[in-house]
């Protein structure tokens, strides 16, 4: 995803990269100086324009260097920074020749990313700037023209107003804009495209990313989850898997009760058992192995009436593709049986 975005936006990323890099460094080191820089640049919008237009070279290097701070932001961040980094590029594309109002945008995204990783910093940053909602295409260009034409002080007031009028994405995002008036005397900051940066949505986003991270872990551990995408499907698979495992436990305990009237777990040779522990896979495939195995048992008093419901229920769940796999597993397990 990141590479795609990079290829798209690399052409248009010229002027913003340097500012991203600069801003990133500022953010990480001195937050107060950041304020000052912004303040100064807002006063000298012409200078900033020049600076922005000046840097047109070496997109890749800048991109690389700008990635590294993101990587530094935390190990548990891996997929997250991709998610977070994508939209800023789109946004930056939009505001290529913009005025100083754009330059805060990457910092805002940093703020958002920081929020997901280190919430303390983000809250501190947020308090110092005025995040506002970003609107769609025409409104942006409209704003750009008007923004360039006006002075800073009036810009703040008017653009605030315009934002409140124009942005009507979702009710949540438009909720707190008017109230977030800036303390410092510079231009509004745009949030990530189409998203607000007020606390609730940020917290929600952080929560959502936590959930997606947990779902990824679950995807690794539940077999067959890779093919299904989306929360509902994966949850379905997970539920099925847990139910399968529970049924398997019942089944095995019944079997053990039958086989072992003294209720003694014969563990004479622990080392031999170790071999089984590592190889026996508790997967859906092996459930099918148990089911054909049971009717072949001719030992003792089999309480078949109790077993049959177990059998039938565990047969319905798995799909047809398991049949072939289970057959092969069955053969290998019976062959590799050493005692």
């Amino acid at each position: 995803m990141l590479e795609g975005l990079v290829s798209q936006e690399s052409l248009s990323l010229n002027s913003m990269d340097m500012s991203v890099l600069e801003r990133l460094k500022w953010v990480q080191q001195q937050q107060q100086q950041l304020q000052q820089v912004v303040y100064q640049s807002s006063n000298n919008s012409h200078e900033l324009l020049q600076i922005l237009q000046f840097h047109g070279s070496n997109n890749d290097d800048l991109l690389q260097s700008s990635f590294s701070p993101f990587q530094m932001l935390g190990s548990g961040f891996g997929p997250n920074y991709n998610i977070g980094f994508g939209p800023p590029h789109e946004a930056m594309d939009e505001c290529i020749s913009r005025t100083s109002s754009c330059h805060m945008e990457p910092v805002d995204t940093i703020e958002v990313l920081l929020k997901t990783g280190e919430e303390n910093r983000a809250i501190a940053l947020k308090n110092k700037r005025n995040p506002e909602v970003k609107t769609r295409g025409e409104e942006k260009t409209e704003k750009k023209i008007k923004v360039e034409a006006e002075t800073e002080s009036s810009m703040k007031g008017k653009s605030n107003m315009r934002n409140t009028e124009a942005s009507s994405d979702t009710s949540k995002e438009t909720s707190k804009k008017a109230s977030e008036i800036q303390k410092l005397d510079y231009i509004h900051v745009r949030a990530r495209r189409g998203q607000a940066t007020d606390r609730h949505s940020l917290a929600e986003r952080a929560r959502r990313e936590k959930i997606s991270k947990k779902m990824k872990y679950l995807q690794d551990i539940v077999p067959g989850c890779n093919k299904v995408t989306g929360k509902a499907g994966m949850l379905d698979e997970i539920i099925n898997y847990v139910q399968c495992l529970q049924r398997q436990v019942e089944f095995l305990s019944m079997k053990l009760a039958v086989l072992n009237p003294e209720l003694e777990l014969a563990v004479e040779d622990v080392s031999v058992k170790q071999a089984y522990f590592t190889n026996v896979v508790a997967s859906k495939q092996s459930i099918m192995v148990d089911v054909p195995l049971f009717p072949l048992d001719q030992q003792g008093s089999l309480d078949l009436s109790a077993i049959n419901p177990n059998q039938t229920t565990s047969i319905e769940a798995p799909s047809a593709s398991w049949e072939t796999q289970s057959q092969s597993l069955y053969n290998t397990s019976s062959l590799g049986f050493q005692y």
Binding site: L235, I238, Q246, V249, L256, L259, L265, F277, Y339
Partner: protein, 180 residues
């Protein structure tokens, strides 16, 4: 995260200890009783592996305790984990379905655009599934937020896998023994 061999060993030990408590009373019991004993001891062993850190383990022990309090206590004392039975669980949230349904209907009347409907439908599906997951995982109803639920599910799955692994190897060994 796969079940490690050390987890398997621990589970086996605890399970054995639990089963030994049953030993004196199993002479004339039926298959069902024995199965129940086996499963109970296995569940208690599995839950005690976590030493009360996870919600599902506490809920599971509580559930087994309601079935057979005395035996569970004995087992836990055998495994030297008496504290587990006294651990407190978060309160169960009672949800009056009628009221919830009515309020949802009212909310639904408002938004009727196509994309919103699709999103709402997807959300409903996900909610239904999470509710299903809560039913399956022990103590699921007690977990208020989804993040916790998923975490507990992950842990529960790993523990179930160890349980199944150990039980299956024991069964296989027992079968081999009998076949001899």
């Amino acid at each position: 995260m796969q079940p490690t061999s050390s987890m398997n060993e621990e589970f086996l030990k605890k399970w054995q200890m639990g089963l030994q408590i049953f030993h004196p009373s199993i002479d004339n019991t039926s298959v069902h009783e024995r199965k129940k004993a086996i499963k109970l001891s296995a569940d208690v062993a599995m839950a005690s592996l976590r030493k009360g850190t996870t919600c599902w383990s506490r809920a599971l022990i509580e559930k087994t305790a309601t079935e057979d309090n005395f035996l569970v206590r004995q087992m836990l004392s055998g495994i030297k984990a008496e504290a587990l039975i006294n651990k407190k669980l978060p309160k169960r949230t009672v949800c009056h379905r009628k009221i919830v349904r009515r309020s949802k209907k009212i909310l639904r009347r408002k938004s009727k655009s196509a994309s919103e409907e699709a999103a709402a439908k997807a959300k409903r599906l996900v909610k239904r599934r999470t509710q299903g997951l809560r039913n399956v995982v022990p103590g699921g109803e007690l977990m208020s937020n989804d993040v916790l639920l998923l975490q507990e599910t992950l842990d529960y799955i790993v523990s179930l896998q160890t349980q199944v692994n150990v039980m299956r190897s024991i069964v296989d060994a027992a079968e081999a023994e009998i076949e001899r």
